[in-house]
């Protein structure tokens, strides 16, 4: 027979959800040197809309929660190895070269091309999530044999009851991210290369293109990008963006497995240690969590 009952109303869940949604702000920025290019990002993501619903099938559903990137900016700096043409001898003489072709070097900056991708307007996406609640009794495998619960508490090896969110389905609609990002990247590359070669006279541009072919192809080769960047991004993120769901699923599963929503030690402390007296702790068993249309109810038994 359960002795303890704790219930949380759906109203409380909704109030809590709305508060988190309205106030959560994910701000991150980072950059890394990846050899031939450097990459960085800056994000500021908020949440909008969405709803939370307790369901009689023992699950919690978060529906159509909009992920709203206020800032979602990526930066790629490409450092292309320096290329020089000309400078060869046109009229050689026994005393040296009398006339040389003009020598022209490109890609001598670092980085040579800087691409600033503002993806925020295109990344608005929507998340729906259904999860059940699961209870786990955790025993620390590192706890030495024979150690009693009082010493285990002092040493941080106490047993715990934990409640986890068990994802049953995760759905992320990310609107045409790959195509949009691919187009942006391609356009930015063309613009950057044109700008890079802008100082050259038309004949020189033609000469370079004749010698090296379209520079976009070269940059793609350096970056190991295929012809269709959009398709490449799509492949990277998975067929029809399935990988995104898979990643999200994995991340949430990982999160759910490693981070309990709530936990408490067993036995549970009623009176703290005081003046050399041991703490009074009460063993708790049969912790269970049930979700109904109206509330979430946790029950437990106090052991004799």
């Amino acid at each position: 027979m359960e002795h303890i009952k704790v219930a949380v109303s759906e109203t409380a869940f909704i109030e809590f959800f709305n508060h988190i949604r309205d106030n959560l702000q994910i701000m991150e920025s980072d950059s890394a040197d990846l050899g031939p290019f450097v990459a960085g990002y800056e994000i500021d993501i908020r949440l909008k809309n969405g709803s939370v619903d307790l369901r009689d099938d023992n699950t919690v559903r978060i529906a159509e929660l909009d992920i709203d990137p206020v800032i979602f900016r990526g930066f790629i700096g490409i450092d292309i190895p320096e290329l020089c043409i000309g400078g060869f001898c046109i009229i050689p003489t026994p005393f040296g070269c009398l006339l040389r072709a003009p020598r022209l070097c490109i890609f001598d900056d670092s980085p040579d091309i800087g691409l600033d991708l503002d993806l925020a307007p295109f990344l608005r996406s929507e998340v729906s999530f259904i999860g059940g609640l699961r209870t786990v009794y955790f025993t620390d495998p590192d706890r030495p044999l024979g150690m009693d619960y009082i010493d285990a508490q002092s040493a941080g090896f106490q047993n715990k009851w934990q409640i986890f969110l068990d994802p049953e389905s995760v759905d992320i609609d990310l609107f045409d991210f790959a195509d949009i990002a691919g187009d942006l990247l391609e356009e930015a590359l063309d613009t950057a290369i044109d700008t890079l070669l802008g100082f050259l006279p038309g004949w020189a541009k033609d000469l370079i293109r004749a010698i090296f072919g379209p520079l976009i192809d070269m940059v793609r080769a350096i970056l190991d990008l295929p012809d269709d960047i959009g398709e490449w991004l799509s492949d990277v993120f998975g067929e029809s963006l399935g990988l995104l769901n898979l990643i999200a699923d994995s991340v949430i599963t990982e999160f759910a497995n490693k981070n309990s929503l709530f936990e408490f030690e067993d036995p549970f402390q009623i009176l703290p240690a005081s003046g050399g007296l041991i703490p009074v702790k009460v063993p708790i068993s049969d912790l269970s969590v049930r979700v109904t249309d109206d509330e979430m109810i946790a029950k437990a038994t106090i052991e004799a």
Partner: protein, 282 residues
């Protein structure tokens, strides 16, 4: 009907669970429930009126089984002698309305809705020394009663003795008795808004089977005064208003007792029920 129809959060503890908690406290903090002299403590398993059930970890961690008290002085002995004793609370049970205790008839009318009944078994014993001990520890020298005007310089021949710690006369054992005591209480919320406290009020108390009735009345009166003036005022619980910080500077969650229910806590259905409201703020 949902548990949270009247509040955001609901919590309840059934009386059986409460009694298990009390039992844990009695076994793991035995010194709160057993009192006696050093003589009793030296061999508590043999000398206490009832051998208490003590959790092994209490012994393993060298915790005391009883709280040591001074022996009871023999009045008029000049502080020379005292008696060993022990007082124990050997059983403590709680019963929330609707109730399962077989209450004494004097209390049945008191046990109404929202009431709490307590059943306490207490034992006490006094160590009465044997004749051999009395011979071994003679009375402190007292001046004899001088019947006529004696002309001797010091007719009593008694030398005053310096005061010292009283000797607790060692008995063979304690002579014990046990009493069953029933009490009926109810809980009240008192104090101004924002500083409400939960207080327990004594509605009735009855000790079972003591004769003569006048002695029972006197002991019950003393016990009532003890609960009214000593025990229950110490059980005044300030209703907590908990403010919990959310991570990532997301604000705070404030939980406090709901005021929209007629009884909070409610003593009903053999359990104590608590109704709590929640506010989330930045």
């Amino acid at each position: 009907m949902s548990l949270t129809d009247n509040s955001n959060l609901f919590g309840s503890v059934h009386e059986d669970g409460f009694n298990r908690v009390i039992n844990h406290v009695m076994r793991k903090r035995p010194s709160l429930f057993n009192y006696g002299t050093q003589w009793v403590a030296d061999n508590w398993k043999e000398r206490l009126c009832t051998t208490p059930e003590v959790a092994p970890e209490v012994i393993r961690h060298n915790n005391p089984v009883l709280t040591i008290e001074e022996p009871i002085p023999i009045l008029g002995s000049g502080g020379f002698y005292a008696l060993n004793f022990a007082v124990q609370l050997v059983k403590f049970e709680i019963d929330f309305y609707s109730g399962k205790f077989e209450l004494p008839k004097e209390l049945r009318g008191e046990f109404t809705k929202q009431s709490i009944a307590l059943k306490i078994t207490a034992c006490a014993g006094l160590g009465c020394p044997s004749k051999e001990i009395l011979d071994k520890f003679p009375p402190a020298p007292q001046p004899p009663i001088v019947l006529i005007d004696d002309q001797r310089k010091d007719p009593t021949g008694v030398t005053p003795i310096r005061p010292r710690d009283p000797i607790a006369l060692p008995p063979d054992r304690l002579t014990c008795f046990c009493l069953d005591l029933y009490a009926v209480l109810h809980a009240e919320i008192t104090g101004p808004v924002g500083e409400e406290a939960l207080e327990f009020k004594l509605d009735g108390l009855e000790i079972v089977d003591i004769r003569p009735e006048e002695m029972e009345f006197n002991i019950e009166c003393y016990m009532k005064m003890l609960m009214h003036y000593v025990l229950l005022p110490r059980l005044r619980i300030l209703l907590p208003v908990l403010v919990l910080d959310l991570p990532e500077n997301l604000g705070t969650v404030t939980v406090k007792a709901s005021t929209s229910v007629p009884h909070n806590p409610a003593i009903q259905n053999d359990q104590v029920e608590v109704f709590v409201d929640m506010e989330v703020a930045i």
